[in-house]
Amino acid sequence: MSTAIDWISIPLVGLPLISSIVLLIFIGNSSVAAREKLGPSIRMVSLIVSFFMLGVTTMMFFGQMDNMTDWTTMNFGSFNFEHRYVWIESLGIHWSVGMDALSFPMVWLTTFLLPITIAATWNEKNASVYFPLILMMGGALIGVFVALDLFMFYVFWELTLIPMFFLILKWGGKDRKYASQKFFIYTFTASVVMLLGLITMYFLQPDSALTYSGTWTGRTFDIPTLISHSQAANANGMWFLGESMQKVLFVMLMLGFLVKLPSVPFHTWLPDAHVQAPTGGSMLLAGVMLKMGAYGMFRLPLAMFPHAAEFFQFWLLALGMVSLVWGAVVCLGQTNLKKMVAYSSVSHMGVILIGIATMQPLGWAAALFMMFAHGIISPMLFAVCGAFKHHYHSMEIGAMRGMAKHSPWLATSMMFAWMASLGLPLLAGFVAELMMFLALWHFLAAENWSVFWMVGPAFVLAITAAYYLWSMQRTIFEGGEDTQPPASLHGEPVPDIADSEKIAMVIMAAFTILFGVMPWIALDMMNGWTVAFFEQLLIPILNGGA
């Protein structure tokens, strides 16, 4: 353990969590009138905190910190800014944090989205509680990504539910009670099954003296230790923990992650949660929270149970394919803008799952890049939906016509976001989709699988274009001279989006272009991580002992 400053625990996890709790306690003790008055200053405090976090992660991105390895050349299983503190000694629980090229893009994305979210929802009501909750959400999300201890990982994994539950419940739409409870119960149920899997895995480790193990149980929760241990046990065609056990544990762990992702049979919480959630909640939910599922898959089951992953490859691919197609087809039938965007998220998460299922370095890099690109694009989609809600009080496709004439800013943002999401070349989403296609082709050819697997993605490309273009045409174009503002405005003048929203939109659009034109900025480290993973872990295990 180095004596260097713990750049993760202090500014990235501790700061947002503690400052939000302090702010909330402070607000709880002040009168109702004072709360209204304090709103703007609390918003400013939250913005400053989030900017500080963004500054820290950006410094990390440019490699400007002490004692860090370059993100692109890291070995598998090594971490930057690694710190460990004993938490519960008898069980081997540590507060241990660290980042590698898998988690760093997600952490940067979270810190990037926090100020954007604050800006995009600048005028949210009950500001004095809303902005601390957003900060708390950010801290909990980063905690998930940086945790190197299973216990800590699970704690933060569940902690993300609480601020999101309140965000949906307090600032949500009409059916917010139903949606927030459904959201909480769905993900909680999956998580406890995952927890049982984690504990079973914990006790199945051989009782040898592993590092960071509990004084009392003799087992460890430490993720890098577990991975390196499973790596040795998986080698030479052996199955870590035994064949049937590995399969069962893989399924239990994946269940938790698939519900969070979400993949098709478990996705129904997502549209409800998204439609009811406030804009800021949706942005963080789609931008980062869904990626927790994919991140978890890479971090735990894929690294520890590669044999089982190979065994379930068909099912993963099938699930991804079904999510991709089903999400897109359902989009066609939506009349609510936000619901459509929510289902398109399901479809995009299908892409991630397919990328994982190919078990190709390119596919995994595609999945990682998709996580990142979708993390920038989907908040923009939801910001646009939120702007519709906020300014037009309606998100019904077809309730309005020719909005481009009244609200050019909103129309432009919508068009840009929609195009980015359907995968227009030179925008970030395209890179990921293209990579996924190549990887899938490569995989099908290499493994002699039927070419008909390609039908799904090809079909979806057309559908995606169809629903996005159709919704755009019906909302912002059409109507000619007699444009039709939504009835919900009751004849008031049609507003355009506020300045703070414009700033947020422009920044998100700029980064979408940046990562579309120069994907290597982020892709290099993802590639580095994937290649290291394959070279040092997967290939020796899967091909070595055969």
Partner: protein, 567 residues
């Protein structure tokens, strides 16, 4: 350090200091409010000797607030003394009269005493506001009524605490039963204490009838055991069980004792009185029933199942009660959760959630029964049962923090005649944010959401079960899924159940934060600093034991070691 002493022999008082504090408290409560200026006249003379009992009472000792303050102080002293006995290593003391071992002071019994005294101290502190006593101000009927019954209430709390500590200390089935009855009879009256309300008398009646039937059945089982073994000493019973444990007589006796203790922990199907009792009892008393009284039942179960009918007694290394207890635990947790889903009275809801928690704990005890005590595995089995007992103790300790805390919040609502419908919690966050946040923390902790104490306790219980289930299999390295012992599925049922339970816990939060207050309840809540103090203590400990539980786990481990090590 271990020592054996005679009853009332040398070192007896120091060894049982917390209990003696309670006894002193009991007498103080009886004597002090009766002190007056009475004089005793020696017959045939005019000499009057001051006698002090009765007569005109002084201003200080006739203050009706006195009993509550006294009881809280005595419970707090007993609690502190129990903590002090842990410092610098426990002095394990056995109280034996000749051959017969009566009481044993060790980490196990002391930790349970901490649970009992902690819960009772919090309850008595909260009761100062729940059963308000007013000095010379309130002349209303209910005010006078409450003033008059102060002493009774706190005396009953004291006897309850005394009975519970006897249960924890007892090394003899009969002594254990006496303690159990002392505590039970006190709780019967405490439940019915608000006799002027309809719910109160109904609750008392139901609880008393079902409870006394359960006690009667338990006592009958005890008599069967005595008939069979000729002694009710734990050690004698255990030795006898080793040789002839599979006979019909001891098994019938064991089953009947299970009924008696099953009622105390409110396990299905003996839980029917619990929801009514909790709903009718004053909030702090319901909290005691759900925490301390349940812990007492768990002591009984642990003693009878693990110490007496311990696993190594049967041929195949598992135990006879294994399947029965497993079925009971599954039924209990599922029934509790499903019934809680449908209840709209928050106290009934908490009662059913307490039933569900009983199911979790019984699942943990079942897992101990599944351990293989073959000589080859005995060390592993010991460490696994140690883990499970530790988890149970931890669960019971932290249960005092959040379950009792939840009842205390409700007791504050009872003071304004609310707390019987979920809607009376409506808009609590607007009326008093502290209480709403506290209640939400308690609910989340009950549901097992990290990083609160309830999560850690559930995690420890699941870990214990899983460890026990995997023990035999993992000894051989790589194993197949079908080789895992079936108690693993108890853990699965438990996690699914705890996912179901989230629904009703969340609903409380929903009502508090997002419903408008009921008509007539918009104003601030009744005053009461001591109950808020108790709630604050509960909140702080719920959060603290969730984040920094290391010391408490070590404490529980030493306590579990005292029980398991004695096998």
């Amino acid at each position: 350090m271990e020592s054996v002493i005679e009853p009332f022999g040398e070192g007896f008082v120091t060894a049982l200091a917390p209990e003696f504090v309670l006894v002193i408290g009991l007498f103080t409560l009886m004597i002090v409010p009766n002190l007056g200026d009475a004089k005793f006249r020696i017959p045939l003379t005019q000499i009057r000797i001051p006698w002090f009992f009765g007569g005109k009472r002084g201003t200080l000792d006739s203050d009706p607030r006195l009993p509550g303050i006294f009881a809280s102080i005595f419970f707090a002293i007993a609690f502190l003394l129990a903590i002090v006995s842990f410092l610098g290593g426990m002095n394990q003391t056995t109280v034996a009269s000749g051959e017969n071992v009566l009481l044993k002071v060790d980490e196990f019994s002391r930790l349970f005493e901490l649970i009992f005294y902690g819960a009772l101290a919090l309850a008595s502190i909260a009761s100062i506001n729940r059963l308000p006593a007013t000095f010379r101000a309130d002349r209303s009927a209910s005010g006078l009524y409450n003033n008059r019954r102060q002493v009774d209430f706190y005396i009953l709390l004291m006897t309850c605490g005394l009975g519970m500590s006897v249960v924890a200390l007892a090394q003899d089935m009969f002594l254990l039963f006496i303690g159990l009855e002392l505590a039970s009879f006190s709780t019967y009256v405490l439940v019915a204490f608000l006799k002027e309300t309809k719910e109160g008398s109904e609750a008392g009646m139901k609880y008393f009838i079902v409870g006394s039937v359960a006690s009667g059945v338990g006592l009958y089982g005890l008599s069967l055991l005595y008939l069979w073994a000729g002694s009710l000493q734990f050690t004698d019973l255990a030795a006898q069980f080793d040789t002839s444990g599979m006979e019909a007589l001891p098994l019938a006796g064991l089953g009947m004792l299970l009924v008696g203790f099953g009622f105390k922990v409110s396990a299905a199907p003996f839980h029917f009185a619990a929801p009514d009792a909790y709903a009718g009892a004053p909030g702090p008393v319901a909290g005691v029933l759900a925490t301390a009284s349940k812990a007492m039942g768990i002591v009984g179960l642990l003693r009878i199942l693990l110490v007496v009918a311990s696993p190594e007694n049967s041929d195949d290394g598992t135990t006879v009660w294994l399947v029965a207890l497993a079925v009971m635990s599954v039924v209990t947790m599922t029934w509790g959760n499903l019934a809680a889903l449908g209840s709209t009275n928050p106290k009934r809801m908490l009662a059913y959630s307490s039933v569900a928690h009983a199911g979790y704990m019984m699942a943990a005890i079942t897992a101990i029964g599944a351990l293989n005590w073959e000589p080859a595995h005995v060390m592993d089995s010991k460490s696994a049962s140690l883990a499970i007992v530790t988890a149970l103790m931890f669960h019971l300790v932290v249960l005092v923090c959040f379950k009792l805390g939840a009842f205390l919040v409700l007791s504050l609502l009872e003071s304004e005649n609310g707390g019987h419908t979920l809607e009376s919690l409506g808009g609590l966050v607007k009326r008093e944010p502290f209480l709403a946040v506290a209640m939400f923390i308690f609910m989340m902790s009950l549901a097992g959401v990290p990083p609160l104490a309830g999560f850690l306790s559930k995690l420890l219980v699941i870990m214990g079960i899983v460890k026990a289930a995997l023990l035999e299999a993992s000894a051989s390295g790589n194993i197949s899924f079908s080789e895992i012992h079936w108690v693993w599925y108890l853990a699965l049922i438990m996690v699914i159940n705890s996912a179901v339970s989230v629904f009703y816990y969340l609903r409380v939060g929903l009502v508090m934060f997002f419903h408008e207050p009921e008509a007539g309840r918009e104003g601030p809540l009744p005053k009461g600093n001591s109950v808020r103090l108790a709630i604050a203590a509960c909140v702080i400990s719920t959060v603290y034991f969730g984040i920094g539980a290391g010391q408490l786990i070590a404490l529980c481990e030493s306590a579990a070691n005292a029980l398991v090590g004695a096998w």
